[in-house]
Each structure stands twice: as C-alpha cells, then as structure tokens.
C-alpha cells in the first residue's frame, strides 16, 4: 500500500506504548486505543485506519505539543478521535477524508491556555457518503480554537459536516473560530451544521458556513486556454482545498497529502 | 475648580498613580506631558471615574465636591468631559441619537427642558461647524468606520455639544495629520472661556503651539515630578525627558 511507503519516507515508527514523550509515530487504528502525550514533549502522529471501527483517545499533558495528520481512505470506516488538552497544551491536526466514512473529532480543552487547531477536508464522489464532525469543548477559561473544514462532493455523493463549539460557564476569554466551506458539483448534496453553544459572556466566538459552486468563469477561462473540463474542474477543487493540505500539521506530509488528493480527483 | 491631593490608584495589584497633586482653576489651561507608561491616561480615566482603576489613597475635589464619590455619569453631568484617546465604536447607534440623549440628560440634570428636535438639529449644525465635522458623520453609528482624524474631531464636537466646565483631553493629537491637528486645536481654543478649564494630555509640543498652556506638568512613574510654564514644553521638545528623569532618580 502506498501508505506504508509514505510513512517510511517520513521515518515514523509504529507506536506501541501508551505514553510518548517525543518523536514521530504512526498509528494504524484498530479498536480502542489510549495514548498519553507527556508533559513538555513534542510529538507527531500519523493516523490511518486499519479497521472499520476505531476509537483513539489522546491525553495531552501540560505544555506538550502534538501534531496529528489523520488520513481516511478506507471505505465504510468509523473513526473517533477524542483529545483532551491540559494547561498550555497545543494540538494541531489535519484530517483528510477521501472515502465513504464517518470521522469524528472531539477536543476537550480542560485547562487554561490550551490551543486546538483543526484543518480538515473531505472529497467525495460517485455514490460516496461522508460524515465528519468536529466538537470543540472549551471547558476552561483562556483557551483558543480554530476549525476550518472544507468539503467537496460531486456526482451523487453526499457529505455532512457537523461542528460544535461549546463554551462552558466560566470559560471566559475563549477565543474560537469555526469555518465550514463547501462545494457541490453535479447531483451531490452537502449538509453543514456549524453550531455554537455558549454559556460565558466574555468570549470571542464566530462561525461561518458557505455552500457554493465552482467558479464557472474560471472554468471557461481555463478551457479557453485549452484545458479539458475535467482538468479545469480538478484544478478548481485542488485550489479550494489546497490550503488545508499546504498547512498540514506535519509539514513533510503536505506533498503526500496533495498526491492523495490528486489521485482521488 | 479641581484639586487633586496625593492621588494613588491601581489596577489589580499594580499601583500606577503614586501620589498626584494638581490644582486647576477656572480659565486655566494645563498640559500634562510625560513619557509612555507614566500614568497620563490612567490619571484621566480615574478623574472620569473608570471603574477599572481603584483609588487607594488621596482625594479629589471638583467644584467643591468630593469627585471620587460621584458616578461616571454624574461627573459628566456636572461638566467633566473626557476626550478619549481611543474613542470606542458603538455599532448601530447613530451619533445624532447618542448626542441627543447625552445633551438632554445634561439638561435634565440642570433642571432644563429637553431640546426639541429642531433646536437640537440647529445646535448640532452650529457645533459641528466648529470642528469642520462632515455632517454626514452624525447620521453614522458612533465612531464606527470613522478615520482616526474623524474620531478625534468627533470628540471635540461632543465637547462643544456638552459645553463642559472641565475638559480633559487625552492624547487628542495622536494620529492626526497637521490639518486635522489645526482644526481640532482651533476647536478647543474656540471653546475656551473664562469659566471653564482644560487639561491637555499630550506627548508632543506641537499641539501646544495651538492650545497655549498656562502650566505644563511632567508626569513620570505616577507622580508629577516637575511643573513649569509653557517654556517647559519647548525645553522638553528640544532636550527630551532625560534631564528631568535623571534629576528625579537622584532625589
């Protein structure tokens, strides 16, 4: 599988222990797993699915930095990643869903000054059905979060994004942004539910959602220069989701992710 | 009119004003200068009653009354005006409506009838001319989308509307080009009478070319360390604050 080569190239080792304090690791998800990222450590995790149902619990201790790249290419899988961030923990995550799958991310910011960033994209075509969700729970004051999820569905595909920003009472000075941007092509259907649930007053929370179409002018322009419709379309979609991949949580993954997208398109 | 004695104030645990003494009489213009972070804006905020700061010691007498016992709006209605360094934006609330309520609150306090719409419009036209404020601005939301210069002109326009006894202008000159500066300063000068007083807080001498002060004070580390006449401002412009600060350190 191309996956393993990719991982080898990145020099990641399979993760077997339940605690880590540094390094780059790969986890093939099967069943239930829990991993603790030790205090002050810097850890990178490549996550891919190797079973149809998985649950990964990540416990990120104080001052730890965790970078995650999660790729879902396996059809009909259900993945669940639940992250708990302690004081000043910083988690940056990239998720790419390229198959009929359910992918759920939950981030619990339980102590002050934790930071969570998620960049996600799903690309679905044919008869695929993708359901992704991102719940960010601000349980403590002074935390920040950023979620950007982009969705593309073409042909008869159906995509659904559910996002929640929850701000508990007393989670003052929460700074949170959530953005869901989507493109539908052909007979596809996209549903987006960006939700805010806020119980504290001194917060900066915003969310936005768009569902749009490809820029026909640009497509025409490209075709006028000799590109096929398919290529023009592909270029547009690539352009649309590119920033998610370019800013991959693990920089070295950007090229590989971009290859995966190309393949899918 | 204003008598400040040994004023101490802090925000949280941090003491910012450490014993200020100042007396301002009717008809006078005072300038307060000083390097960044010396407590100039805090001093202005405390006089206006900003609850962010706690007065820990000292007293302030204003028109024979204990100023510190009054709420922010009571101070305003008794003629204390603060021109803000950073005027805040209030979305959706038009300038005209905002000022109408303010003017009528002031009138009510003085036992006067509220202005009719026609009287109010007339007053607004007169006063906005003083600072060459584009009349269109009064139908826009308070400070929203105003340029830096417009915001400052707008402060002086409001001062003209409310005709304060004591105006404290906090860095009214910052961020102004030379034309705007001239307009704002001329506006302030035109509003000057024998009965009112002005305290100008500024970094630069250039404003004082237009608004000529009777006294210049230097605020440093929460205290007024030196006072003089208008020549002091010129000296500061030329020589900076170092000579004063050095003196102060030696003390």
């Amino acid at each position: 599988m191309h996956h393993s080569k990719f991982i080898e190239a990145l020099g990641a080792m399979p993760l077997t222990s339940a605690t880590v304090d540094g390094g780059r690791w790969v986890i093939g998800l099967e069943g239930d797993k829990s991993v603790t990222i030790k205090q002050n450590s810097h850890v990178e995790l490549l996550v891919h699915c190797s079973a149809h149902r998985q649950m990964l619990r990540l416990n990120v201790e104080r001052d730890a930095e965790l970078r995650i790249v999660h790729v879902v290419t396996m059809a009909e899988c259900k993945s669940n990643i639940d992250i708990t961030l302690a004081e000043r923990a910083h988690v940056s995550m990239t998720q790419v869903v390229l198959s009929s799958a359910e992918a759920k991310v939950v981030a619990n910011l339980v102590e002050p000054h934790a930071r969570f960033e998620l960049g996600g994209a799903f690309i679905l075509k044919g008869e695929e059905r993708g359901v992704v969700s991102a719940d960010v729970k601000h349980m403590s004051a002074d935390c920040s979060s950023r979620t950007t999820y982009k969705g593309v569905a073409s042909d008869n595909a159906r995509g659904k994004f559910t996002g929640l920003v929850y701000v508990a009472q007393d989670a003052q000075r929460t700074d949170s942004e959530q953005l869901s941007r989507n493109v539908t092509i052909g007979q596809a259907r996209i549903e987006t539910l960006p939700q805010l649930e806020i119980y504290a007053d001194d917060v900066k929370c915003s969310h936005g959602a768009t569902v749009g179409q490809m820029d026909e002018q640009a497509i025409l322009y490209m075709r006028q220069r000799g590109l096929s419709f398919a290529d023009a379309k592909r270029l547009q979609i690539e352009g649309f989701v590119k920033d998610i991949v370019l800013h991959a949580a693990i920089e070295e993954c950007a090229d590989k992710l971009s290859d995966l997208l190309q393949e899918k398109l | 009119m204003l008598k400040v004695e040994n004023l101490h104030a802090s925000v949280g645990d941090k003491e910012i004003l450490k014993g200020i003494n100042l007396e301002v009489k009717a008809g006078e213009v005072h300038a307060i200068m000083g390097p960044n972070g010396s407590g100039k804006s805090t001093f202005a905020s405390v006089l206006a009653g900003n609850e962010k700061f706690t007065v820990t010691e000292g007293k302030v007498e204003y028109l024979g009354e204990d100023l510190l016992n009054l709420s922010i709006e009571e101070r305003s209605r008794k003629g204390l005006f603060l021109g803000f360094q950073y005027p805040v934006e209030i979305p959706g609330v038009t300038m005209a409506n905002f000022m109408k309520i303010a003017v009528n609150e002031h009138r009510k306090y003085r036992g006067e009838e509220p202005l009719t719409a026609a009287q109010y419009l007339k007053l607004m036209r007169e006063k906005s001319a003083i600072v060459e404020l584009d009349s269109k601005l009064t139908s826009r939301a308070v400070n929203e989308g105003f340029s830096g210069g417009e915001k400052k002109k707008n402060e002086i326009f409001q001062m003209a509307m409310l005709e304060p006894k004591l105006a404290i202008l906090d860095e009214t000159d910052s961020g102004l080009d030379i034309d705007a500066l001239r307009i704002v300063a001329t506006g302030v000068t035109r509003l000057k009478t024998k009965e009112n007083a002005t305290v100008v807080i500024t970094h630069y001498q250039r404003l004082l070319d237009y608004i000529v002060p009777d006294y210049v004070h230097v605020l440093y580390k929460g205290r007024i360390i030196y006072s003089g006449d208008k020549s002091l401002a010129l000296k500061l412009e030329k020589e900076g604050y170092d000579w004063l600060i050095n003196d102060y350190k030696e003390e």
């Binding site: 805010l196 179409q213 | 709006e73 609330v93 000022m99 409001q158």
Partner: protein, 481 residues
C-alpha cells in the same frame, strides 16, 4: 357508541343553552382535558359546519399518535394536556373602575411604552366608553377594506361566511400532520384572524395595527390564515407591545400564509407575553408554527421582536415553491431572567432563482438561554438558489447562554449559501464611554442593544419600531447593575 357520544353532546349543548352557558362566567366550567367530546363541544359552541368538526377530529386522532418533541434547546416542564381547559373563549377580565386600580408595575410599563391613556385602560381592563367608541372607527375601516374586496375577519366568522376559501387554504401550508402542536392547534384552535387580499390589490393600511385592542384575548390556540392572491400586497402586524397578563400557560398558535404568484406579504410580530417573574416562576409557554408558501415571484418577509414568554419555540418559515420567489426573516429575540427561547427560521428553496435572507439578533441576559435554530434547504431543482444568513448573539452577564444551531442542506450545485455568526458582549469600554457623556448605565445598555438590533427594527412599520425599541430597553431592566 358513536350515537351515544352524540347524545351526550346534544344533551350537554342543550343544557348549556338552557343554563345560559354562553355567558363568560359559565364558560369557565367547561371541563378540563381533551377528548373527542370536548372537540365536538368546541366546534358546536362555535356553531361550525360539520366539515370543520371532521377536520378537527382528524387532527385530534393524529395528535394522539404523536409524542411531545424534545429536540429543542429548551427545558420544558412536562405538560399535562389533560389539565388544560381547551375552550378558551376570551377570559372574563375583572373590570376595574378606574386607572388607580391597575397594578402600578403594569402602569409604569405602559407609561414607558408611551401608550395613550385610552388604550392603557382598555389593555388593563378598565371599563371605559371612549375606547368602545373606537368601534365606529373600526367600522369605517372595514368599509374601506370591503371596497377593495379585502376580507379581514375572525377565523370563526370566515369558516361560516367564506367556507370555500377556508376549505381551500386552511391547513394547506401547515397541515395538521406537521408537528405535535400544529396537530393540537388544528384540533382545538379557539379563534384567530383571517385575511384575504384579492388579485392585484394593494392593502392600503397596516392590517391589524388598528385592531390592537381587539386582538387582545384571542385565546391560547390562535389560528391565523392570510391569503394574498396574485399580485397583491399586505403588511400585517400581529401582537402588541403592551404586556399581556394571561393566565393561560400554554399557547400554541398556527399562522399560515399563502402568497400567490407575484404577491408580497410582510408579517411583523411583536411578542411581549408574560415572561414569568425574576425567579422564573410562571410565564407563558409559546409554541408556535408559522409558515408561508410562496408561489412564483412571490415575496414574504417575516419580522419578529420577541421579548416575552417564559419559553418560546418558534420558527417562522418560507417555502419558496415557485421560481423567483423570495423570503426574508428578521428577528430580535431577547431573553432575561430565566426565559428560554429557541427560535429561528426555515428557508426551503424549491423553485429556481429563489432567494432568502436571514438576519437574527439574539440577546441573552440574566440566567436565560437563547438559541437560534435555522434550516436552509436547497432542493435538487432549485437552480441558482441564494441564501445569506447572519446570526449574531449578544450576551449580557455571565450566567446566560447564547447558542446557534444552523443547518445548511444543499442538493443543487448552482446554489450559493452563506452563513455567518458572531458572539459578543457589551464592552466595559462602551459603557464607560456612554457614562462619560452623561448616560446612565441602564440607558447606555438600552441604547447599545437597540443599536445592535437596528437592522431588524428598521424592518418594522414605523410606529411599532419606536415601541419595540422601548420594549427592548424595558425587558432589559434589572439585567445590569
């Protein structure tokens, strides 16, 4: 069995009659609870034709199969539907002999709202001839409307006088199968308004503004039907800015609007029902279904200012069925103390080139919970559908909640849909600035809130916009300090 029931009803009816059941006081003793008998009784009391009764019964039987919905972000105490009196004819109000007897708190609110004394008296239930005289004004009014062929009457009257219109349109937008409360309303609705604007007619006045006083007391299960025929226009205003001290806890109204080809309807609501006291005791439960059906080129605009009720559950919606139809929803929902609101809209794009716009401004204070819930749905054939939604929340105090639950569901690739939401609070700097210019904190908060809600308030007919502004300020009382 059937016969037996009928006999009982007949007997009941006759005895009603015999004992003067029609007087207000007697209506009080209609038994609590809901059953087919009660529905027959309601229908009979209203002198309805058989077909109407059949409709009610059908709805009731359907309602029996439904469960109380619980998906909203609301904490609704369990309601015992057998503990409700369903025949809620206008409640007999204690007649007061002068304004001095009126609850001073109520009086204070009237004054703040600037309601003329005559109306104050009527609203507070003071017997006064002056207001009764306005009936004559109302009559001239009706003449003007009749000249244009506009029908504006109570729904009970319409059932009798315009059965063909009622048969055609009642339940055509909100069928009894729609939801729990729509079914309940279809079974037991007490009264409401009916309005028909004929083809090409532009209604010359804001409907119902004049009937503000009369609209009072229409009961707990209100039913409104507005039909704007091809190319017509009407602006309709529901509600009243004055506080309503209604003892009925449960209100479940249904409003249906049919907007035929190229017609234009503007529906404005100001809702200020009793929200309960400072500790969250009492208050109205307001569970409303409002929907409009827009045919080709039709336009429907909903504007609502919601400050009352203990619990509000309400989503005025637009079904954009015809090509080029457009819908708008402008809302200010304010909650204070222990109030809960779950409100928003649905924009269903079915026709081509359909457009919708949503502007929602939530304000939560005290310990209240305020949620926006919305759906923008674009069906497969709704080419070039456009929606823009903006949902802002303002929090006042740190014990309240503000929530946003939008759903955007798009099945057409040429649709462009945008949703934006922000959450903010009144900043200390804004308050300080206003205080420094001489405004009290209460006035400053009122001003800032009105500024925040301005985009919506601007949509209201002039005279109500002013009252609504005052209302917002009053509803905020005690939330800062």
């Amino acid at each position: 069995m059937e016969n037996e029931t009928k006999n009982i009803i007949n007997e009941l009816e006759q005895s009603d009659y015999k004992y003067g059941f029609v007087t207000d006081i007697e209506t009080e003793i209609i038994p609590k609870g809901l059953s087919e008998d009660i529905i027959r009784l309601i229908s009979a009391k209203k002198g309805e034709p058989e077909w109407m009764l059949e409709r009610r019964l059908k709805a009731y039987r359907h309602w029996l199969t439904l469960k109380h919905p619980n998906w909203a972000h609301l904490d609704i105490p369990e309601i015992d539907f057998q503990d409700v009196i369903y025949y809620a004819a206008p409640k007999p109000k204690k007649q007061l002999s002068s304004m001095d007897e009126v609850d001073p708190e109520l009086k204070r609110t009237f004054d703040k709202l600037g309601i003329p004394l005559e109306e104050q008296m009527a609203l507070a239930g003071v017997a006064v001839d002056a207001v009764m005289d306005s009936v004559s004004v109302k009559t001239t009014f009706r003449d003007t409307l009749a000249e244009k062929g506009i029908i504006f009457c109570s729904i009970s009257e319409a059932i009798k006088e315009h059965p063909e219109l009622i048969k055609k349109y009642l339940g055509s937008v909100v069928p009894y199968t729609d939801n729990f409360y729509a079914a309940l309303n279809a079974a037991v609705f007490s009264d409401g308004s009916f309005c028909y604007i004929p083809k090409g007619v532009r209604c010359p006045m804001e409907l119902s503004t004049y009937f503000r006083i009369n609209a009072e007391g229409t009961g707990q299960f209100e039913r409104t039907l507005i039909v704007a025929d091809e190319g017509s226009y009407v602006s309709y205003l529901e509600g009243c800015t004055a506080p309503r001290r209604d003892e009925n806890q449960l209100h479940a109204a249904v409003v249906e609007i049919v907007v035929e080809k190229d017609a234009d309807v503007k529906y404005s609501t100001v809702q200020n029902w009793y929200p309960g006291d400072k500790d969250g005791k009492g208050g109205i439960y307001n569970f409303v279904t409002k929907r409009g059906l827009c045919k080709e080129g039709a336009h429907l605009s909903w504007t609502q200012v919601e400050t009352g009720s203990a619990i509000t559950w309400k989503y005025p919606s637009c079904v954009l069925l015809g090509d080029n139809a457009s819908g708008e929803f402008y809302s200010v929902a304010m909650t204070n103390n222990y109030q809960q609101a779950d409100t928003g809209t649905k924009m269903i794009h079915i026709g081509r080139n359909t457009r919708s716009r949503i502007v929602s401004k939530g304000i939560s204070a005290g310990r209240s919970q305020n949620a926006y819930r919305g759906l923008v749905k674009v069906a497969r054939d709704a080419d070039n559908a456009r929606n823009y939604s903006q949902c802002d929340s303002l929090l006042i105090g740190d014990r309240c909640g503000a929530h946003t639950f939008p759903v955007v569901d798009c099945s057409n690739p040429s649709a462009v849909l945008e949703h934006e939401a922000t959450t903010s609070k009144i900043s200390e700097e804004q308050l300080f600035y206003c205080n420094q210019r001489g405004l009290s904190t209460e006035d400053a908060v009122g001003l800032i809130v009105n500024g925040y809600a301005r985009e919506v308030l601007q949509q209201l007919p002039m005279e109500f916009a002013v009252e609504a502004q005052k209302l917002l300020a009053i509803s905020l009382e005690g939330s800062v300090g």
